[in-house]
């Protein structure tokens, strides 16, 4: 079992709902301070966006953050160098599109992530059907690959995806790209389907915008992922202290 899964299972044992904020690496020069602030505010793991020029699964907020980050010169190497050696105390999960790893080299990417203390990877355009080379590359390093289940996923596929996923299963709340939304969409149904198939921790993401929505989602799931709502404030100039306060408002809603 990879570290990410051990950590998240242990967290669930303690009865704590996982709060997983997303930050785009390199979007501002002080982005690492935001990660630290989020942890101070009560994050249990952090998703780190690796910018890609053509983010098919992202809405306008994360698109904008990615383009800013690329304009700042962010690369896989540069962001890994920034997080390596930080003693953050919570798992980090890289979120990237497949081409970034494909181009860097699958084995080299997996090693680079592991050497930088990154515990997992979410690659939304890597379907289970195409995942074998990447999973092979991660086999001998401590990087867990997290797969997504969508509201459109039929039950046989849910089982297959749940079997492949490591660390946790990412339950998409809605048929949409990342962004902000006004309700929880299909989250309860998707989580229930995943629970049928596995006892892996199951986290809800895509569209979680308010602490109230997070609280509702956590009633059915083991944790929540909050992306665009945080990234938007950083694009608008939020300080690390602002991020800490915002993350903490989600924390209080979950506890």
């Amino acid at each position: 079992m990879k570290s990410l899964e051990r950590h998240l299972r242990a967290l669930r044992e303690t009865g704590v709902k996982a709060l997983v904020p997303y930050f785009m690496a390199g979007v501002t020069t002080d982005w690492v301070r935001h990660v630290e602030a989020a942890i101070a505010g009560g994050a249990n793991a952090v998703e780190i966006g690796v910018p890609f020029s053509d983010p098919m699964m992202d809405g306008i907020v994360i698109q904008e953050a990615g383009l800013r980050s690329l304009a700042n010169g962010t690369t896989l190497d540069s962001l890994c160098a920034e997080v390596a050696g930080l003693a953050l105390g919570v798992p980090l999960i890289a979120m990237s599109y497949y081409n970034v790893f494909h181009h860097y080299g699958l084995a080299a990417s997996a090693r680079r992530l592991a050497d930088s203390g990154i515990d997992g990877a979410i690659v939304p355009d890597l379907s289970p059907e195409e995942a074998e080379p990447w999973r092979d590359a991660c086999h001998s390093v401590d990087v867990a690959t997290v797969f997504l289940v969508a509201p459109s996923t039929p039950s046989e596929r849910v089982t297959r995806i749940a079997t492949m996923s490591e660390g946790f299963v990412y339950a998409s709340a809605r048929m949409a790209v990342t962004g902000r939304a006004s309700d929880l969409g299909a989250a309860p149904r998707v989580v229930a389907a995943v629970r049928e198939a596995t006892d892996l921790p199951t986290f809800v993401g895509i569209g979680i915008t308010t602490p109230e929505q997070a609280r509702e989602a956590a009633q059915v799931a083991d944790g929540v992922i909050v992306g665009s709502a945080l990234v938007r404030t950083i694009l608008d100039g939020a300080s690390p202290a602002d991020t800490e306060a915002l993350v903490n408002s989600f924390r209080r809603a979950l506890d």
Partner: protein, 394 residues
């Protein structure tokens, strides 16, 4: 037509052509891709569906398109050039072949709406046309830069009842229009089909679109036989995503003809690309040293694409087809030459294939050779742009 396709083979169960192809899409879209594969397989072996597809192409789209011997160009170049006249098909390009098939399939799948990306606007116009005919709702995504380059095509789509959405993300051209169409598709797969315009994207699109365009090559092979030309020495087509080229190559893939795909120098995925994953496929992609996709730059919006269909990447790797480039600077001359010598104003995209013939006749192409040139589209959509280029004296 599945039973006719004896030349270019079907991809494997993962949709791969050699090491290229596959299906790299968000999970939300996987069920739709699987459903589409089943629906296509089923339709493409159903006589009734095929009969309807062929009859719409005949009665509505004007097929078969003729083969025209280009006598004066041939004399000038010292080679025998025959043009396959996709420019004479309804809406002015080969794009109609694919959208007739995909819109019929949309109805068969019980969906009521199509979305599509477009570069030059040709695929958008064709999709809007085929959608209107069947009463399907239609939304077209078009890079903002392209909506300006191809204003008239935007208006044509609107006249046909489609909604045109200018795309302002990324480089605001064709690749971004594909991203935006994919993002939209995630939200509406239940009732909406994504009518992709070229032999690209996730399986089954590259294969399905090639099959739906293969009528070009099968017709041309028959027509050349009928006029006793037989197998040409060369089959030449321009390549954006590669659908007109795949369509014409399909009729000659197992013959002795040399297959030549002509890329725009600023969008040459075979010439300057490397293996990568974009828009749901593994193929040759123009990208920087970090795997970020590069922006293509071409005088013709339809060739402004940093990738190429995976089957072409495989044909290139296996050596069965060759991919060459021509630069923007020779395109206007090629367009004028063909217009003046033959009374055919080609699309800027098709002019790339003409430009390669003009450059290579008597050099790479031995004098006396026989060439089939796929005239993928007509230049009406481009005349305003050509006028402004000529006026600005560049």
């Amino acid at each position: 037509m599945a039973e006719d396709t004896v030349y270019m083979s079907t991809p494997d169960e993962f949709g791969r052509f050699g090491e290229f192809g596959g299906r790299f899409v968000p999970e939300a879209l996987m069920p739709a891709c699987l459903e589409l594969e089943d629906a296509f397989l089923d339709a493409w072996s159903d006589r009734e569906f095929l009969a309807e597809y062929r009859s719409v192409l005949a009665d509505f789209a004007g097929r078969p398109t003729p083969i025209t011997p280009l006598a004066r160009l041939s004399e000038r170049l010292g080679i025998s050039v025959y043009a396959k006249r996709e420019d004479l098909a309804h809406t002015g390009s080969h794009k109609i072949n694919n959208v007739v098939g995909q819109t019929l399939l949309t109805v068969r799948m019980g969906k009521s709406r199509v979305i599509a990306e477009t570069g030059a606007g040709q695929h958008g116009v064709a999709t809007a046309t085929a959608a209107a005919r069947l009463g399907l709702a239609c939304t077209i995504f078009m890079g903002e830069v392209d909506t300006k380059r191809q204003e008239l095509n935007v208006f044509r789509m609107e006249l046909l009842g489609a909604t045109v959405v200018p795309v302002t993300s990324g480089s605001r051209t064709l690749k971004d229009a594909v991203n935006e169409a994919m993002r939209e598709w995630v939200t509406c797969v239940e009732d909406t089909h994504y009518c992709l315009g070229s032999v690209m994207g996730p399986h089954p699109f590259p294969w399905m679109v090639r099959e739906m365009q293969s009528i070009i090559g099968h017709e041309a092979a028959r027509q050349l036989r009928d006029v006793r030309v037989g197998t040409p020495d060369y089959v030449v087509a321009c390549v954006g995503g590669g659908s007109n080229a795949a369509g014409v190559f399909a009729g000659f893939a197992n013959s002795s003809a040399q297959l030549i795909g002509v890329e725009a120098a600023g969008g040459a995925a075979v010439g300057h690309g490397s293996p990568g994953v974009l828009h749901g496929m593994r193929s040759l992609i123009m990208q920087d040293e970090f795997g970020q996709i590069e922006e293509a730059h071409s005088i013709s919006a339809g060739l402004d694409y940093p990738g190429i269909g995976p089957e072409h990447a495989h044909l290139a790797a296996s050596g069965r087809a060759r991919y060459v480039e021509v630069g923007d600077e020779v395109i206007i001359d090629a367009l004028r030459t063909l217009s003046e010598l033959e009374g055919i104003i080609p699309a800027l995209e098709s002019a790339h294939a003409v430009a390669w013939l003009i450059r290579e006749a008597g050099r790479e192409i031995p004098l006396g050779s026989t060439v089939l040139l796929n005239m993928s589209g007509r230049g009406d959509k481009d005349v305003a742009q050509v006028l402004s280029i000529l006026r600005s004296g560049s």
